[in-house]
């Protein structure tokens, strides 16, 4: 547990990831246009904006699903013009998806174990016979995964195929899989979409706990403004692929451009 005098703001460190002047277009449609912002070590960073603002595209650029036509991404001091999904994952970027992307036929446990893929390195001849190093490795990973299962309070569903679970629990398993990667940066794409109030509160709690106990940096997209304002340290606002505001929740709330983007403006 954190000592009480250790104020929240002091946990935030240097820049972990920075995107500079990133532009992404699909054919003639500009999804992201010259956006720059950074994510600092240990903070909870929200990306908000109306529908079609380019938020999910931005996450896809960060973890290498999309390759921007222009701009640079600096992660842990290394600058590149594009990420590859494998580089992102092995560099410590984990993510969840807007419309839950789980391995539906597999149990919750196997889903979370899949998150350990990159941490396993015993060669497969050992694995084949489940002897020696492979056995030790499996046990060690299993222990870690059980900790996550305890943390997310999903002990009772660990053997259930995830396709059978209700939506809220699926989202939790997906978070578990991302946590199994021991990420330095966790990208959450609408972690609370489609949830009821109680589930939202649970999820908020988990996000704060992950941030606090594991010290994981979190970037999240969310539509529920109440949640965003409560959780995040800093907020970046996108609209039509461009950045219109960046700052603390209070600053963003008062920003005229943001109010216009959300409420519309008289022309």
């Amino acid at each position: 547990m954190r000592a009480p005098d250790d104020k929240p703001k002091s946990r935030i460190g240097d820049v972990l990831l920075a995107v500079e002047d990133v532009s992404l277009a699909f054919g003639g449609v500009k999804a992201i246009n010259g956006v720059s912002f950074d994510i600092r070590q240990g903070e909870i960073r929200a990306i908000i904006g109306p529908n079609g603002a380019g938020k999910t595209s931005m996450l896809n650029v960060i973890n290498g699903f999309y390759h921007p036509q222009q701009g640079r991404i600096t992660f842990k001091g290394r600058t590149r013009s594009r990420m590859r999904p494998y580089e992102a994952a092995s560099g410590g970027i984990a993510r969840t998806f807007q419309n839950v992307a789980l391995f539906r036929g597999m149990s919750a446990l196997d889903n979370i174990m899949a998150g350990r893929t990159l941490k396993m390195n015993v060669n497969f001849f050992w694995q084949l016979f489940r002897r020696g190093p492979a056995m030790r490795e499996e046990i060690e990973h299993r222990r870690f995964v059980e900790e996550i299962i305890d943390f997310l309070k999903i002990q009772d569903i660990r053997r259930t195929p995830v396709g059978r679970l209700p939506y809220g629990l699926q989202k939790r398993v997906e978070l578990g899989r991302a946590l199994a990667m021991e990420p330095e940066l966790l990208l959450l794409d609408e972690p609370m979409a489609g949830m009821n109030l109680e589930e939202k509160e649970d999820m908020s709690r988990y996000i704060l706990d992950v941030n606090e106990y594991y010290g994981t940096t979190i970037a999240l997209i969310e539509h529920d403004m109440g949640v965003v304002m409560d959780l995040s340290d800093r907020v970046v606002v996108l609209d039509h692929g461009e950045k219109i505001a960046d700052g603390t929740p209070d600053e963003v709330k008062r920003n005229q451009a943001v109010i216009d983007a959300y409420l519309g403006v008289a022309h």
């Binding site: 973890n63 699903f65 999904p85 494998y86 994952a89 092995s90 984990a94 993510r95 998806f97 992307a101 789980l102 391995f103 539906r104 036929g105 597999m106 196997d110 174990m113 899949a114 998150g115 893929t117 990159l118 396993m120 497969f124 694995q127 084949l128 016979f129 489940r130 195929p161 396709g163 059978r164 899989r177 991302a178 199994a180 990667m181």
Partner: protein, 327 residues
Amino acid sequence: MDLLYKIFIDPFMQMGGAPDLLVQTLWEGLVSGMLYALIALGFVLIFKASGVFNFAQGIMVVFAALTLVGVYDLLRSAGVTPGWLAAYLALAIALGVMGILAFAVERVVLRPLVNQPDIILFMATFGLTYFLIGFGEFVFGGNPKRMIAGELNLPSGAVEFKMAGGFVAMQKIDIAAVLIVSVMVAGLSFFFQRTRIGRALRAVADSHKAALSVGISLEQIWVVVWFAAGIVALTTGIMWGARSEVSFSLQIIALKALPVLILGGFTSIPGAIVGGLIIGIGEKLGEFYWGPLLGSGIESWLAYFIALLFLLFRPQGLFGEKIIERI
């Protein structure tokens, strides 16, 4: 009444009356069932990893066998002796070619189509089929070839066993086929169930983007399964080729795998084996005991009929993953 007697009683009387014939029929069913299972296995591997029905599996069998025989001829005419050395060299080279094929398919066909709907990938395997037909004919010519079974030290001839009050004859090549297929199936299911690659494989089958996000390399998985399917194809080619000859018409045996897949479920390795055995044995028994009622020749469609019957009761196949749909 007479018809009912012929359908429900007479065949069983015959079975009881000549148990050696029954054993003989069962054995033949077992052998062809094993070979069907082997073909089905090639489909299952690729279906599991990419959710794609690989239409090209049949032609891959032909292509692998042709490569083996073609390279062997080439080595012999280059003066490599003795025959067995050339044959095993050719086997190694054919394996290498299947590896290159797996690599090329991943690079040229699958990678550009990541995250596309399954039907697109399915259509791409059609393209692959026609490419392999054209390329195979261009390189090896269209004439049927003899499989180099003897040079690979596969046994020939038959052995007779005295059992069940008579004699049962077994082709040695069939015994070898059953043994080789068993070992191979055991090896593959072991590999895919017990290793990390196995879990990664199932993950890829379920969701490309989720697999990518946890750092599973789609490229690696696809090369592995296509290579495994290539090895299966080569084995199938050798075994089927040894029983007849190697020609492009061999690819239609792929169609025989369809009822096996329907029975066993597209995603299950044990399912492919059990399905293959049911189809193989059912086919031979049906042909031998019930065939005469319908004027014989029922072997060619009986498999589909059996599969249809199973579909009525288990749409997901015997071992397939039950499809769960939230409404």
